[in-house]
Symmetry: D2
Subunit: 131 residues, 4 copies
Amino acid sequence: MRSTTCFNCSDGERAAFELGIKLASFFHQYLGAPINLGNVDSMESAICEGILSQPFVTDAEISLDREEIERSVSGFGYCSLSERMMAGRVTIVYEGMEAVGELGWAEEMRYPLMRVVSVGPHGQKNDMDLE
Amino acid sequence: MRSTTCFNCSDGERAAFELGIKLASFFHQYLGAPINLGNVDSMESAICEGILSQPFVTDAEISLDREEIERSVSGFGYCSLSERMMAGRVTIVYEGMEAVGELGWAEEMRYPLMRVVSVGPHGQKNDMDLE
Amino acid sequence: MRSTTCFNCSDGERAAFELGIKLASFFHQYLGAPINLGNVDSMESAICEGILSQPFVTDAEISLDREEIERSVSGFGYCSLSERMMAGRVTIVYEGMEAVGELGWAEEMRYPLMRVVSVGPHGQKNDMDLE
Amino acid sequence: MRSTTCFNCSDGERAAFELGIKLASFFHQYLGAPINLGNVDSMESAICEGILSQPFVTDAEISLDREEIERSVSGFGYCSLSERMMAGRVTIVYEGMEAVGELGWAEEMRYPLMRVVSVGPHGQKNDMDLE
């Protein structure tokens, strides 16, 4: 089935599109935020709730790497949220199609990789984690 | 054909995913930048070249609304780049599949809408602009 | 007394400098974050704790305007954190000098004004709110 | 002389406050922007012109570290603008008082240090670079 109104693609493509939006907004919105072990729980919750407020998101998990934060904190007692610290998984459901994706630091590529874990009919077992 | 390595989706879905990433990074990265009629050309070019540096992007057009900027400039001579000023079109080609999408302010929704204009085999005429 | 090491200014100037940094990082870091009445408490706390993690900050209050958020939420159920929604007050203490400042939307200027409320010796009554 | 209207501080403190705002807006606005050797000139110009559009700025120099960018570019051909790549110097003049400041990566502190180079009457030789 084609995506409606002003979208011209399949529902699976639309779900994947929305997924890309959410992962990139996580990355570009919060990169650089001041962080340490004292406020990481609060920041994680706020980021996660922010993503859950966006359209078509049915699930979100955000994980900020405490070990990397601890390594990165300067003598001033905090550091800036960096691409190496950010990981998350987001689930989109659009018109019965589910897309699951992740953001995480890929050390071998030295890259904050955003990837599609699965796209398929919602309710089926299509969430194969490939790691 | 399935998208390779650590992606688990069709090439069209992958192209749509990459499209969503680029539109959202445009929005969340540059929203808030200081702008007026004197630096809008420079900012437009830099945003556009930034998007073109990202993977799978074959074309990008960025348009910052001069009239809205002029209306928004305060007595201090500049304003912050807002969602009403930002518009752009990005083309992704992934493994022969092309996805075209746009960001633009939709006044009737009061929303900075990101939408898929088309997804299809690259080289075919599938870029139907729906506006 | 002069500010030490690689700073070449008075302690009051240094406190004012640090104050400007904190107000601008609040504004430029979080502008654009997805927000609605459901996640505003969480976002407010995270922003506030982030500021408190930064050097020389002894107090921070953040207030995101619920009425403006409610007015701005689109049919998709959320909006982007805008300059009209953001308000805050930060206190810096540097070497015995206290600087207090605020960010808030000034409707008559149509501008997110950052201003110095007071600079003076910490512990004295110099925090005259001018509003 | 006291800073006017809704500011309650000396002109030197006000100049230092404005300086902190500009350095922090540079850092938090552009951190994370997609960058490589092909678009670094364009990004540098846009950032610089953006700062020059802000109030009380009389001079700005921005320098994005090409060597660090080259080292950081992934197999995807670009990287995200990081705190190690960002350097700049900004001059503020407020009511005859000049404040000069810098942002730059301080490797020994592992910190993107914002510092005041000088504050003093404009037109005098008070811009002693302490590096």
